[in-house]
């Protein structure tokens, strides 16, 4: 698309308007909380002027992007899909948002999420970039922890949150990562090593590559379709000369529990700031400060959020702190060590499923409570967050139901480039039928007129 813009085949304004039109047509999906139409069109106009003068800012100039609604955007409502932040308009941009805007990207709007990113589908903290990517047939990248600034990302779990990147192909993910990565003085958890934008080489020879298959990830809950694709992928690498070996991550079965304790504990702390005084929702009660806080938080948070806060507070009680919170921190080290040991044994990249199966229908999804769902759905993705490693989900094939299935690659810390290089090689070999924008635009009129699609709310 960038090339098309540069060659003048399409103008930023045309592109912007096509996207806005598509957003309107798919409104029933409730994917956007806020559509920043005026802002986007104005940005498109400015981008167009730059192209006319031959002064484009780079590959992202004029490209429409959407940002999940837990990233602060100056002057544009940022809610985290929660009542607690309804009407909250941040006075600043998150660093990653600013970087995209500085490159001339067009901000189409703020996308929906589970309240405060606490669903199985909702958190870049346990897999929520990779999970939806796998279900939707797109590339989902979680960079190494410390590579991309979290300033302006409303925090869930400070020690695990990472801004995630969703794109249609691996090359695009690499481009965006190149722009977003780097030290940010406003986020002291970003590393200081210099980072440059990079282009991914087109790997042809994988004979020096060692792919690890963690045996503990072969669980009984894994659908036979995903299992067979995983096998197929391993065979693909082997047939092309790569070394493919079985490895062990012995503490895998404890990672969900560990995550549960650490996540709820950090959440309990991070949600404490929402008291209705400085920003966000405030209830009408004026009896006492305590009553005001309590009512504000009851009105502002949904059940899932409140439960996590309560669980977290339990684990942080003086009598529980050692046995739960500190214990979980120790188990976290063991999990991180498992990965280090595997990578030290000569493995370059791990290959695992991203999800247990293709996307499950909403009616089935809501049968289990949130904790059970997260425990099931995050199983392959969240150990990576605990270890801070980079991981990417790449779409591989459609299921027998026609739904996308993706596989996950996990790399060494700060070897995001190498990880993406392998992912790109794989993407090229499997030739997943990516939806092209043009065909979607052409087809969507008939699709949406003829079929009655149930309205799915992600809130």
């Amino acid at each position: 698309v960038s090339a098309a813009l540069k060659q003048g085949q399409v103008t930023p304004t045309e592109l912007c308007q096509r996207c806005l039109s598509l957003i309107k047509k798919t409104k029933f999906l409730n994917a956007y909380i806020t559509v920043s139409e005026e802002v986007a069109l104005k940005q498109a106009e400015e981008s167009e002027k730059r192209y006319k003068k031959g002064l484009s800012l780079g590959d992202l100039d004029g490209i429409p992007v959407a940002v999940k609604d837990n990233f602060s955007t100056a002057g544009i409502e940022t809610t985290c899909a929660s009542n607690m932040l309804k009407g909250y308009v941040p006075p600043y941009n998150a660093t990653v948002v600013q970087k995209l805007l500085d490159q001339g990207a067009l901000l189409m709007g703020k996308t929906n999420l589970d309240e405060f990113a606490m669903g199985a589908l909702g958190s870049d903290t346990g897999g929520s970039t990779r999970n939806p990517a796998a279900h939707c047939g797109v590339v989902g990248l979680k960079p190494s922890y410390g590579l991309v600034s979290r300033h302006g990302l409303i925090p869930l779990v400070n020690s695990m949150d990472v801004p995630g990147i969703l794109t249609r192909c691996v090359d695009d993910a690499a481009i965006v990562l190149g722009i977003l990565a780097g030290h940010d003085p406003k986020d002291s958890t970003t590393i200081q090593d210099p980072v440059k934008p990079f282009t991914l080489p087109s790997l042809t020879d994988v004979s020096k590559l060692c792919i690890g298959i963690p045996k503990e990830y072969l669980t009984p809950e894994l659908s036979s379709e995903v299992q067979s694709l995983w096998s197929k992928a391993a065979n693909l690498f082997e047939s092309e000369g790569a070394k493919v070996i079985e490895v062990s991550l012995p503490h895998t079965s404890y990672s969900i529990v560990c995550y549960h304790v650490l996540c709820t504990s950090e959440v309990a702390s991070n949600m404490a700031r929402f008291d209705g005084l400085e920003y966000g929702h405030r209830c009408d009660t004026d009896v006492s400060t305590e009553a005001m806080y309590a009512a504000t938080r009851r009105e502002g948070f949904n059940d899932v959020v409140r439960e996590r806060i309560l669980s977290g507070n339990f684990f942080l009680l003086k009598e529980n702190y050692e046995n739960y919170f500190v214990k979980a921190q120790k188990v976290r080290r063991l999990i991180a060590r498992d990965f280090v040991n595997v990578f030290n044994s000569g493995v370059d990249v791990l290959l695992t499923p991203t999800t247990l199966s293709e996307a499950v229908p909403h009616t089935e999804f809501i049968r289990e409570d949130n904790r059970t769902r997260s425990a099931q759905d995050d199983i392959f993705t969240q150990a990576v967050n605990m270890a801070g490693l980079p991981a990417v989900s790449v779409p591989m094939a459609l299921s027998s139901q026609g739904l996308p299935i993706g596989l996950q690659f996990i790399g060494r810390a700060f070897c995001d480039q190498q990880l993406l290089t392998v992912a790109k090689w794989f993407e090229k070999r499997v030739q997943f039928p990516v939806i092209q924008l043009q065909e979607l635009m052409d087809d969507c009129s008939s699709i949406f007129e003829n079929e009655k699609l149930a309205s799915v709310s992600l809130k």
Partner: protein, 133 residues
């Protein structure tokens, strides 16, 4: 203290839930613990005392008996960590523990944005955020 939210108009469904909830607590005799039917063998009972304590600390309420049951399940789930041998293992606070934390120099480079910040609050008097008494 927290239960005195009589001034807030509860929605009908919440009122029903609240009535059931209070009724359950009353029948359990106040401070006695009441085990949830679903609690597995040997799991921690969440006593009424603990509930009050957590609600006080968290400033959110459970809202229903189901929520308490879910906490019990969450605790039982977390108890699985006991099976892991962590002798001699240090807790891990950050994956970046081997690196020096970046500290910028102690110079004022931004600020003077009181007006912007005050704009987001519902109740402001001059440059103060206003809380109830």
């Amino acid at each position: 203290a927290l239960r005195e939210d009589a001034l807030r108009k509860p929605r009908r469904r919440e009122m029903w839930a609240r009535a059931v909830w209070l009724g359950l607590r009353a029948s359990a005799g106040g401070r006695r613990g009441f085990p949830s039917k679903a609690a597995p063998q040997g799991s921690r009972r969440v006593t009424a005392e603990l509930i009050e304590h957590l609600e006080r600390l968290a400033l959110v309420d459970f809202g229903s008996q189901e929520a308490v049951a879910r906490l019990e399940k969450a605790i039982a789930f977390a108890d699985r960590l006991r099976a892991v041998d962590t002798d001699g293992v240090e807790p891990m606070e950050s994956v970046l523990e081997d690196r020096c934390l970046y500290l910028r120099s102690d110079n004022v480079v931004e600020g003077n944005c009181a007006e912007e910040l005050l704009q987001n609050s519902h109740r402001v008097v001059e440059e103060y955020f206003v809380a109830p008494p």
